[in-house]
């Protein structure tokens, strides 16, 4: 009897359930989102434009025989509004399917928004808070209109957002590209008041975009304070994380040469006793080989190798110094992570200077940073002399 009553209860509960049932084909899958600034309406009030890239699943799986079919597998819907929440509501009314952010992969924000203090953090807030979203949505800054980036029509991928996604994965092979930064990462930077850099995107032609340089955000106001060019991004990559692959071009005796990086490893050492005397040593160790020699030098010669090594080291140090100079004096953003080292290795001192690092007394710009590069040249390619086919190794 009791069992029957119990099972009745369960059945009733089951039959009245189904509040959340939405069939898979009734969702509107948003795979990429772009946010642009339409206009400034005075202090703290803006008009935003949100562009969502919806996937049209039916057009995704065109059989090879059908030859493309002609209809695009995606559609972009742009809606304007005062805040993202309002826009979202409007979006639901405009698309026949329920907007679903569960598969969102790319978030493109225009440079204009990034430059506005607090607006950027406000925009991100929604993407951090909404449970539907993943923490690994990749965040990029578009140099011009963010909307345009989502409407490139690459030949190689079907959906622009997936194209951007695939492109950003190449960062591990290209040194001048910043590694993808996710919404979750930025959440951490914001909470820790760290400065950070995001990849920048440039629309080249109708069909292609290119990642170029990095947008630098200061932890102070959480807004875009400047940008790094390709060369500076390369140096940033070298000093912030171990890297595999990549090339360094330099000139030797007037000949352009290429050093192929196999492996690089940065190390930041901070020496400090009190907040006033902080000395930082940034060292980079690289291992690699000579890939291209446009001269006819024999590389077996130890003298030649050490000469190359000197030139290479000098080149690396110069580039990194230039970057650090820019960071310290122009952008005032500690992108190389001295603050993290201080926090982890010298927590007592860090506690005292925490508020004066990038803001306040601006200690970061006053710190003395030494750069030291060590380049190992492992092998010299299959032949040491390209021009006259000398002795082989």
């Amino acid at each position: 009897m009791k069992r029957t009553a119990l099972s009745l209860c369960i059945i009733v509960a089951l039959l009245t359930g189904c509040w959340d049932v939405i069939d898979i084909e009734d969702r509107g899958y948003i795979i990429g989102t772009a946010i642009d600034l339409k206009e400034r309406k005075g202090e703290g009030a803006y008009s935003l434009a949100l562009t969502n890239q919806f996937v049209i699943p039916g057009n995704m799986t065109s059989a090879p025989g059908e030859g493309g079919g002609g209809s695009k597998p995606f559609t972009n819907i742009t809606v304007d509004g005062e805040s993202l929440m309002i826009i979202n509501r409007k979006m639901g009314a405009e698309s026949s399917r329920l907007p679903f952010y569960g598969h969102l992969k790319m978030l493109v924000v225009s440079e204009d928004i990034a430059k506005e203090k607090d607006l950027f953090a406000g925009v991100l807030d929604l993407f951090i808070r909404m449970q539907e979203m993943r923490r690994d949505i990749k965040l990029i800054i578009a140099e011009e209109e963010a909307k345009d980036v989502l409407s490139v029509e690459p030949d190689i991928e079907k959906i622009p957002a997936l194209y951007l996604d695939a492109l950003s994965e190449n960062s591990s092979k290209t040194m001048s590209m910043l590694a993808p930064v996710t919404v979750g990462d930025v959440h951490g930077f914001l909470l820790n008041h760290h400065s950070y850099a995001l990849p920048m995107l440039k629309k080249k032609v109708d069909k292609l975009v290119q990642y170029e340089g990095a947008a630098v955000f200061s932890g102070k106001g959480n807004k875009l304070v400047g940008s790094l060019n390709d060369q500076e991004t390369k140096s940033l990559n070298l000093v912030t994380k171990p890297f595999k692959g990549g090339t360094i071009e330099f000139e030797m005796d007037g000949h352009p040469s290429v050093y192929e990086l196999e492996f690089s490893k940065p190390d930041i050492k901070v020496k400090t006793k009190d907040p006033q005397s902080i000395s930082v040593e940034v060292s980079v160790t690289t291992e690699g080989s000579m890939a291209e020699m446009f001269g006819s030098k024999s590389l077996i010669n130890e003298k030649e190798i050490s000469k190359i090594r000197t030139i290479l080291t000098k080149k690396l140090e110069d580039q990194i110094n230039a970057l650090i100079n820019k960071l310290q004096h122009e952008l005032n953003a500690d992108l190389i992570g001295v603050n993290s080292v201080l926090e982890q290795k010298h927590p007592d001192i860090w506690k005292q200077i925490k508020d004066d690092w990038e803001q306040g007394e601006d200690l970061f710009s006053q710190v003395d940073i030494k750069v030291k590069a060590t380049a190992h040249i492992q092998s010299v390619g299959a032949s040491d002399r390209a021009s006259d086919g000398g002795g082989k190794e």
Partner: protein, 525 residues
Amino acid sequence: MNFKSLIGRMKKMNQQQNQKQTQNQGENQTFNQLELSDVLDDNMTAIKQFMENPRDLVARTFQIRNANVTCGIIYIDGLVNGELVNNDVIKPVQTAAAHDKLPDATMAVFDMLFQDIIATGDVKKGKTMDDVMNALLSGTTILLLDGMNQALLIDLKKWEQRSVGEPVSETVIRGPRDGFVENLQTNLTQVRRYIRDVNLRFDTHQIGRRSKKDLVVAYVDGIIHPDILKEVNRRLKTIDMDDAPESGFIEQWIEDSFLSPFPQVINTERPDKAATAIMQGKVVILLDGTPFVLIMPATLDNALQSPEDYYERWTIGTLVRMLRYTAAFIAVFLPALYIALVTFHQEMIPSNLAFSIAATREGVPFPAFIEALLMVGTMELLREAGARLPRTIGQTIGIVGGLVIGDAAVQAGIVSPIMVIVVALNAIASFAIPTYSVSIAFRILVFGMMIAAGAFGLYGIILGYIVINIHLTNLKSVGVPYTAPFAPTFLKDFKDLVFRAPVPLMQKRPEYVKPQDDQSANKGD
């Protein structure tokens, strides 16, 4: 009282007794213990009268040559070996006085027949009408002697029967090919041949109020835990029904919980499986008239074992078991998981897969839940139709149902192709479970899980899973917890669970049946 009129009364009473249950215990006993008469004719008539002289009853009288003694022989044609009756009974009896003179006393003649003349192994003496009737109906030949109030019950049973063949419901690639048959005696012989242990015991029960059938409880004394045996025997004694045509009746009468979808008794057609179970300290129940024997106690993991796991090498055995556990999971949960993912948790499906599922579902008129219900229902229909049809047509059903309907349904846009894959996988997985009765239990659970998933997605599934677990942990088979040896945990038994240890390492009998002698092997030197 006249013997004949007494018989008439008794017969009437007997019929009434069967109709109105056992009301009058006293009178009933008088019938059962009604003794045979001295007069041959009376006995013969009484027996004929009891059965109303059916056409398969053979009853004749004959004389012993050179002596003035009349004998009566009664048997049921078809149940006995007529040639043997002629050669071993009638002929020797007729010529009993050919060489020596018979003794005068009837009693002495009777004893002489019993000891010297009848050339058959199994001969008993019967004193009451009840003995005689029961023996007669089970195929014994009755020899009566005029002037003697006892009968000789001569066992010369033989009837038409299926020869021992390969078990149809449980096939193996490697392993013995013989299966049980409908004849209890043959089945016992098979068990005996597998277990040549003096301690092998066959306890006999008679089941059925009207049709008294023999039921044998087989076990090895000294291995089995006495409480299990006692409990099985106790339950068997409570059985009170007209007839048990198949061991399924016994199973359902003695199982622990009739509300459970899970079978608490394993049935098998394979003597090797039955013998292994006996050796593990379990009880095997054999019923006359059916090739399916029952193994008790049963646990859930038994359902996922096949004798072949032991015949192949241990790596194969282990991998196959893992495969089966996976199959069991798929058989119960796959359609439910699909429903949950497709209607609730689209974010969990990898993007590209999600888009292609969405693309294939576009234009499907039903929600995924209804679609799944439809397909799994159709699958059940096909399975049932295939099982009842003659084998040749059964295959056609598979082709027509599986291929034609499935393909047409997809073409017509009623179901999505992925759903067809899901349902087919689910069905295949349920066929991979070696025990049919468990596999159909799983088929029931599929529906429950699908409803839960359709209403609450993953939350529903996990609640469903918990309900199944609550039920399973409360379930017992002859007092042994159904989830043993997982819980209660017997770590030693894990050697023969998902993992099947190499044979030399399996030295202990399963602990969960608490065998008295737990050592089944010793490590070889």
